[in-house]
Structures are given as structure tokens and as C-alpha cells.
């Protein structure tokens, strides 16, 4: 497989992994938690570097997962102590992100970890960092990591499909019939943290946030069915990655930024032209009704 295809595959994997877990958060009105986690993961990665003195996958995964869950925990505790939730999110993620950025500036130039990397990622370098087993190369590490997380997410969604669906749409009823709502909540947070961590290193904070929030919202404008929602969200993620890559190559600009912009374009299209929920379509329908009566 060549260079370009690896990058596109990585982008698509980010799109489908984040898109599917993000839509679950959106339905629970927790999109901004996704925004917060994808910023604070930086602190986990930098922290793992200080502890292990390397940029290896495993310590980073652990560090990032710990900080991701800590973010969710801090936001919830502040909220419970009486702070309105938007401010709680704001104060937690800006603090942890600022700490991560400041710590990065102490690392210096010897490692490829800097603030620019944190925001935009290094998707262009993904194909060079390959998985080596006994001297054989088995494709980029990032693809393996994302692939693993995607499969794990799919298994979890498949196994707990009913529980997730019920506790998302009607938490009260779910509690009543004995669905472990708190467990499902932390299951989702875990899925989001994992997806974020696996994506962060290759595509950076911007694109993770975009892929977690925008494809889900786009899908929500196109369908009312849960399973279709998950599917469309994944497909929108993949399309955004492909369109974004094409545009980035054409204009020679940031790949992550272009993919994020592409999610915006697809959202705009759904916002205007979705058959059922699109703004222009609704307007046209109203006009037709007015004309008929």
C-alpha cells in the first residue's frame, strides 16, 4: 500500500471511530465533554513522556486515558458542588490543556512533541512509523491502534446495543427496568477516551473534536433511527476524511484542518438540504402548504 492510501485510511479510521462514539455523546447532550477530553488528553501524553521518557504507545495510551477519565470526573464533581456545567467544563479543560502546553515547552527540541503537533497532529508522518515485528513491517502503528479501538468499540456497541439505546433515549425508563445506567455512562466515556487517544497523536486536537461532534450532528439531521444514526455518522466521518485529504493536497495546506473544514461543509449541506430536518426543505414545505390552503 502506498503513502497516500495509508494517510487516507488513517483519516477514515479516525472519522468512523470518533464519528460513531461521538454521536452517542451528542444524544446525551455531552458534546462539549468530548471537546474537553480531546484537549486534556494532551496533558496525559506529556505526563506519560515525563514518566517514561519515551514516546511509546502504551504509556501514552495509559496517561491519556487516565487524564481523559479525570477530566470527566473533575467536571462532574465541580458540577455537583454547585457550579453550572458549562463553566465547569470551561475551567477544567482550559486548566489541564494550559498545563499540558506549558509542560511541552519544557521538553525542548529533542522530541517531536510540540504545541503545533498537539493541535494539528502529524498525519503526514503516519506512514513512516510502522509496526515492526522481527524485522518485518506490518503497516503504520496508528492504523493498528485505530483499528483495534474501532473493533473494540463495535463489539461494545453490539454487545450492549439495547442498554445503550434505552439509556440514551430514556434514562428514567432504563433505570426502571434495571439497565445499569451508570455503567453505560462510563462505558461511553471509556469508548470516547480510547477513540480520542488513538486519534490524537496522528491527527491532533482540532480534528478529534471535529470528528467527535460534527458527523454525529450531521447524521442527526438526516435520520431518526438509532442504528442508521450510527451508520451515517461513521460514513460522514469517512467522507470528511477523503474530501479533506483531497483539498489539503490540492491547496497544499494542513490535512487535519482541511478534514475538519470538510466535516463543516457536510454539516452545512445537511443543515440546508436534509429532506426531513433541513432548513430550506422545511421552508419549501411550509410554502407548499401555504399555497395549497
Amino acid at each position: 500500500m502506498n503513502y497516500t492510501l495509508w494517510i487516507i485510511l488513517t483519516g477514515c479510521l479516525v472519522g468512523v471511530t470518533c464519528g460513531m462514539s461521538g454521536v452517542l455523546l451528542m444524544l446525551k447532550k455531552m458534546s462539549m465533554i468530548a471537546d474537553a477530553i480531546s484537549h486534556t488528553v494532551l496533558l496525559g501524553i506529556v505526563g506519560a513522556f515525563f514518566v517514561s521518557q519515551s514516546l511509546n504507545g502504551l504509556p501514552m495510551l495509559i496517561g491519556a486515558a487516565v487524564v481523559g477519565l479525570a477530566t470527566a470526573f473533575f467536571v462532574e464533581s465541580l458540577h455537583r458542588s454547585g457550579i453550572q456545567s458549562d463553566a465547569a467544563i470551561g475551567v477544567v479543560f482550559t486548566s489541564l490543556f494550559a498545563l499540558g502546553v506549558v509542560l511541552i515547552s519544557f521538553i525542548g527540541d529533542q522530541v517531536h512533541l510540540d504545541t503545533k503537533h498537539a493541535l494539528m497532529g502529524e498525519i503526514a508522518f503516519v506512514p513512516w512509523d510502522t509496526l515492526q515485528i522481527k524485522g518485518e513491517s506490518y503497516g503504520p502503528v496508528a492504523v493498528w491502534m485505530l483499528g483495534t479501538v474501532l473493533v473494540l468499540n463495535l463489539i461494545l456497541i453490539a454487545v450492549f446495543y439495547k442498554e445503550i439505546k434505552i439509556s440514551t433515549f430514556d434514562p428514567q425508563y432504563a433505570k426502571l427496568i434495571g439497565v445499569p445506567v451508570a455503567f453505560v455512562h462510563y462505558l461511553l466515556m471509556g469508548m470516547v477516551s480510547l477513540s480520542t487517544v488513538a486519534s490524537f497523536d496522528s491527527v491532533g486536537a482540532i480534528l478529534v473534536v471535529a470528528m467527535l461532534i460534527v458527523p454525529g450532528a450531521t447524521a442527526y439531521l438526516l435520520t431518526d433511527r438509532f442504528i442508521t444514526l450510527l451508520l451515517i455518522s461513521g460514513v460522514v466521518g469517512i467522507l470528511s476524511a477523503m474530501i479533506g485529504y483531497g483539498a489539503a493536497v490540492y491547496w497544499n495546506v494542513s490535512i487535519a484542518g482541511a478534514m475538519a473544514s470538510a466535516t463543516g461543509l457536510l454539516f452545512l449541506a445537511a443543515f440546508l438540504f436534509s429532506p426531513k430536518h433541513g432548513w430550506l426543505m422545511k421552508k419549501a414545505k411550509q410554502r407548499r402548504l401555504a399555497a395549497n390552503s
Binding site: 458542588s81 458549562d86 494550559a98 502546553v101 443543515f271 430536518h277
Partner: protein, 289 residues
């Protein structure tokens, strides 16, 4: 100014420190209103959205001109908040998702433009990178003048219309009843938030400027329940965060200014969270005993 020269800072640094002090005060004060109106995250979206505006101005005019940059920043910042309102009112998307969409798409597009500028105009000359995390050390006197004068004006307006703003924030219906121009005051407050974001991005950066609006007033909230005291205390916390962040980042190499200011504010918040006389953890535990 003499105070700073005692500490051994040169003239340019004195300017920067004064600017950071006043900017911190203005954002802490205005942030108090933002907090009570539950618009903290909207201000974050506004801040992220200023990046494409700055870049578009550079692409259009190809000069490094701070006034032009700030106009561009204000325009896309405004566009972003309009987009959020449009999404909420014209579709089934809820507020938090709408904010997230606008933040990531506008900022992502800003990064696209930034890399475009670097490719086509050799944009590192333009110093646009510093808009992301802010760099106090790169500010020149005229930049700081914009920040200083802007912050002073904003603080004065906040003080002047304090009573009216208070009524509008707490009880819009009552405000209308006693004949206050509610919509006008609303827009004024909104413009003040936009302005503080726009003048602050050079020093604090688009990614974290919203923290200066959110954190200091939130810290103040642990000490008082009166809006007047909260606004003043929030302002003071903001001023302390601003100046200590600026001092640390100018005296220690490589430390980015914005994140240092935010960390200072977070530290004050943490102390307030523990010890704040009204809602702090310790006083509450003592009361329970």
C-alpha cells in the same frame, strides 16, 4: 510605571505588563456577566473563530496590520456566534453540539488558512502563529496600546452601566418593565465580550483567551454572592493572573504567555475552591462540624 522599573524591567516590558494587568481586569469583570448568562462556552467558540478572520485579512491585504487583523477577528467571531444561534433555532441540534461544531470547524478552517499563508506568502514573517497561544514578548508598543486603551474603555463601560447590566442579567422581564432598552444593553454586553476577546488574542491566544473570561469570575463566585463584589473580585483575579502570567513568560525562556496566564488563574480558582468564604470546601466542612 515606576513600580515596574524598580523590579528591573525594560520600557517595553513595562508596557506589556501594564497591558496584561488591564486586560486581565477587563476580562474578569466582563466575564462575570458572561458566567451568569451561561455563555462561557459560547465565548470560547467566539475566540476560536477569530483565527480565520485574522488569516483572511492577511490573505486579502498581505500586510501585517494589527487594526486589520482585529477587524477580521471581530467579523468571524461575530459570524460564529450567529452561526450557533442559527443552528440552535433552525435545526434540532442542541446548544452544546452547536458550539462544538462551530469551534472545531472555524478553528480547523483557520488552521487551513494559516498553513496556506505559510506556503504562499512565507507567513512566518507575519507572526500569525503567535495568535494561537499568544506571545507577550513579541508585542510592540502600538500593540500594547490597543490592549491598554481597549481594556480601560471596556472596564469604564462596565462600571458605568453596571446597574443596567445587573438588571438585564438577573431579571430581563423586570428590566423591560421599568423601561430599560434591554435589546440595546444585550448587544452592548455582547460587543464588550467580542471586543475583549479580539484585543486579547494577541497576548493570550485564541485557544485560551476564553479561560480569562471564565475562570477568574468563577473563582470570585466562591467568595461572594453579590454581583458588584464578584465583578470587582473577578477583575482583580484576572489582573493578577494576567500580570503574573506575563512576568513568568517574559522572564523564563520559551514559556508561552497565554497558558501561563490561564494556569495562574486556575491556581487562584483552586485556592478559592478550597478556601472561598462563601462556597469553598473548607468553610463548608467547618460549618458541617
Amino acid at each position: 510605571m515606576d513600580f515596574f522599573s524598580v523590579l528591573g524591567f525594560d520600557a517595553n516590558t513595562e508596557w506589556v505588563l501594564t497591558g496584561s494587568l488591564l486586560l486581565g481586569f477587563a476580562s474578569g469583570t466582563i466575564g462575570s456577566f458572561v458566567l451568569l448568562r451561561k455563555q462561557s462556552l459560547i465565548s470560547d467558540a467566539m475566540a476560536h473563530a477569530t483565527l480565520p478572520g485574522v488569516c483572511i485579512m492577511y490573505i486579502l491585504f498581505q500586510v501585517k496590520s494589527i487594526p486589520l487583523f482585529l477587524i477580521g477577528a471581530a467579523l468571524t467571531g461575530l459570524l460564529a456566534t450567529q452561526a450557533i444561534q442559527l443552528i440552535i433555532h433552525r435545526s434540532r441540534i442542541k446548544t452544546d453540539a452547536a458550539i462544538g461544531i462551530v469551534i472545531s470547524v472555524f478553528f480547523g478552517f483557520g488552521i487551513v488558512l494559516l498553513t496556506y499563508i505559510q506556503q504562499h506568502f512565507g507567513g512566518s514573517k507575519a507572526g500569525l502563529d503567535t495568535f494561537i497561544f499568544g506571545q507577550a514578548a513579541s508585542l510592540v508598543k502600538s500593540d500594547v496600546q490597543v490592549i491598554t486603551i481597549g481594556s480601560l474603555i471596556l472596564t469604564m463601560i462596565a462600571a458605568l452601566f453596571f446597574k443596567e447590566f445587573k438588571t438585564v442579567v438577573f431579571d430581563p422581564a423586570f428590566a423591560k418593565g421599568i423601561g430599560l432598552p434591554v435589546r440595546l444593553l444585550d448587544s452592548l454586553l455582547f460587543s464588550m465580550v467580542l471586543l475583549v476577546v479580539v484585543i486579547g488574542i494577541q497576548m493570550v491566544g485564541v485557544v485560551l483567551i476564553a479561560a480569562l473570561l471564565i475562570t477568574p469570575p468563577l473563582a470570585a463566585r466562591f467568595w461572594t454572592e453579590q454581583l458588584g463584589v464578584m465583578a470587582f473580585l473577578g477583575g482583580s483575579f484576572g489582573a493578577v493572573s494576567g500580570i503574573s502570567g506575563a512576568i513568568l513568560s517574559t522572564t523564563i525562556d520559551h514559556l508561552p504567555t497565554g497558558p501561563m496566564m490561564v494556569l495562574s488563574a486556575s491556581f487562584i480558582f483552586f485556592l478559592s475552591f478550597l478556601f472561598g468564604s462563601k462556597k469553598g470546601m473548607l468553610p463548608r466542612m467547618v460549618k458541617l462540624l
